[in-house]
């Protein structure tokens, strides 16, 4: 059943989550299912599926991306101290209201309570971006915020409400 894949692909699993498929270096199929409850199930060749809970999956994901390894204990401690602090990746779409405007002009932190930690633009990572940097469609923002601020922030980005 080994199939050659041009590249990796993501398929929706309606009502359950998403499935990421790729091949290992020996061209065997590797599948990663991200469920709606944020559990992640790894389906590796010749092995029973492995299920990770949400915070473990995030830590593994960050480690694999090589950007920063999040120590779950640290997140837990931050959580105790700040209460509901989270890091989120948010993508800016080309049609969003904030495209071509600067972080300073948008007054993002004052108006939404969200801090932009980094911008992932193409292969480049802009860590602690300058306030006069304009945002672009396709940017991925790494933001730090409280859970409750996130919906407001997304609405702010898209220009809804």
């Amino acid at each position: 059943m080994a199939r050659l894949r041009e590249s990796s692909s993501i398929i929706r699993l309606p009502g359950v989550g998403d499935r990421f498929a790729c091949a290992d270096v020996d061209d065997r199929e590797v599948q990663v299912v991200r469920r709606r409850d944020e559990h992640v199930v790894l389906h590796l060749p010749d092995a029973p599926p492995v299920e990770l809970d949400a915070s473990t999956a995030r830590a593994v994901g960050a480690f694999m991306a090589g950007r920063f390894a999040i120590d779950p204990r640290l997140v837990q401690r931050l959580d105790d101290v700040v209460g509901g602090l989270t890091f989120e990746w948010i993508r800016i779409e080309p049609g969003d209201a904030v495209v071509d405007r600067t972080i300073e002009a948008l007054q993002i932190r004052r108006r939404t309570g969200v801090t932009i930690v980094a911008i992932l633009r193409g292969s480049q990572a802009i860590v602690t971006p300058d306030p006069d940097l304009p945002l672009r469609g396709g940017d991925e923002l790494v933001v730090a915020c409280r859970d409750v601020d996130l919906d407001d922030f997304v609405r702010f980005l898209t220009g809804d409400g």
């Binding site: 080994a2 929706r12 309606p14 009502g15 359950v16 299912v33 599926p49 919906d151 409400g161």
Partner: protein
């Protein structure tokens, strides 16, 4: 008041305990909640918790409303279009076969035209809850046929909503064709208004319901769901479809994901009471009279599931194991069959419908997970002529 609370507490505990026993051997919860109701109902020997099943009417209605509301909230157009034409062809085949056969059976039983439409819906639509849980628990999320099965389920969900909308005026108490047409137009108008609200009113409704903290959000969305369901009921469209549309409207707001998460515990608790109350009203001595029709329906649905599995495998280039997995997964029947029949009971249709569907659901909800976990047995027996091994794509 104290007595009612004690009885209600016992009902939850009993339903939960029975379902928990079932889970140990891999059985879904829905048939066991219903079975718990049958056991302590007024129609079986032994302890009788509820002399009057209708006392649970309001709580059971909550269950029905949250079941459909959840379906609406989690509905997404991408789920529908993401599978492309092959998914539509597969799901279309499945529904055409099952609804068609359901109608044929319904008319053959000779219980009446309205009854035939209810039987078609009840035997034609799989159980979303059981199928989804089954695939997660059998760890089949990485299988090639799984997106297809889940896609079929999404299309069935949407079909159920449309079917409910079309059925409500049929079940309504129209004395003449003119009155029936009026009821139908009123229902259609209501659905169009809610449909427009779902499409364009997301921001406006969002402002009404979206609250930053979860407590207020729960209170507000429960209010919205009940209000819309109630208005729908008053207009003769059925509270079920009202609740679905309310969910669909909220699916277009920024709080959709949070609502989806928060409504789950409400849905689980009240849906259990809905299934339990359905069981309470079943008199096992009525089951003898519907044994033959139910057996026919079970056989027909099983055969059609296998046929649909074969067709689906051929359309989508899957192997025999895929065909067998599809067949036994989509065979599960549960909440939607019971919802349709509870609406039929409320409309005063033939009393044989309830025991008929109770038996039908009981058998298929239990058989489907058992067969699905042993689908290799069928896969090995399917002639290769019917399901050719897919050509390697590499």
């Amino acid at each position: 008041m104290g007595y009612e609370l004690i009885v209600l507490g016992l009902a939850f505990l009993l339903a939960g305990s029975l379902a928990r026993l079932g889970r140990r051997v891999g059985l879904p919860t829905i048939p066991l909640f219903m079975l718990a109701g049958i056991i302590v109902g007024p129609n079986t020997p032994g302890p009788v918790l509820f002399e009057h099943p209708e006392d649970l009417e309001l709580l059971a209605a909550f269950g029905l409303i949250f079941l459909l509301f959840y379906l609406g909230v989690e509905f997404s157009v991408e789920d529908l279009t993401g599978g492309g034409r092959k998914l539509l062809a597969t799901a279309g085949t499945y529904l055409a076969l099952n609804i068609g056969a359901g109608l044929a059976m319904g008319f053959a039983f000779g219980w009446g035209t309205k009854e035939a439409f209810v039987i078609a819906g009840a035997t034609g639509i799989s159980s979303s809850a059981i199928v989804t849980k089954l695939l997660v628990e059998l760890r089949r999320l990485a299988n090639p046929e799984t997106p297809l099965i889940l896609g079929i389920i999404v299309i069935e969900d949407l079909f159920l909503a449309l079917y409910l909308a079309a059925l409500a005026p049929v079940l309504g108490e129209a004395d003449s064709a003119g009155e029936g047409a009026l009821l139908f137009l009123r229902a259609l108008g209501f659905l169009i208004v809610l449909g427009l609200l779902a499409r364009y009113g997301g921001a406006w409704i969002g402002r009404l319901v979206a609250a930053r903290d979860d407590e207020l959000l729960v209170v507000l969305f429960v209010g919205f769901a009940l209000l819309v369901a109630g208005i729908a009921y008053q207009l003769g469209v059925s509270d079920a479809i009202g609740a679905f549309m309310a969910g669909l409207v909220l699916a277009g707001t920024t709080v959709a994901r949070r609502v989806e998460r928060l409504v789950l515990p409400l849905r689980d608790a009240f849906a259990a009471i809905f299934f339990f109350a359905f069981g309470l009203a079943i008199d096992p001595s009525d089951i003898g009279g519907v044994l033959v029709p139910a057996a026919i329906a079970i056989v027909v649905s099983s055969v059609l599931a296998v046929v649909a599995g074969i067709v689906a495998a051929r359309i989508n280039g899957l192997d025999r194991q895929g065909a067998a997995n599809i067949a036994f997964s989509v065979l599960a029947r549960g909440e939607f069959a019971l919802i349709l029949v509870s609406l039929a009971a409320a409309a005063g249709l033939d009393e044989r419908l309830a025991p008929f569907v109770a038996l039908y659901v009981l058998v298929l909800a239990v058989a489907s997970p058992i067969l699905a976990s042993r689908s290799g047995i069928l896969a090995r027996r399917l002639p290769e002529r019917l399901v050719p091994d897919p050509a390697p794509t590499a």
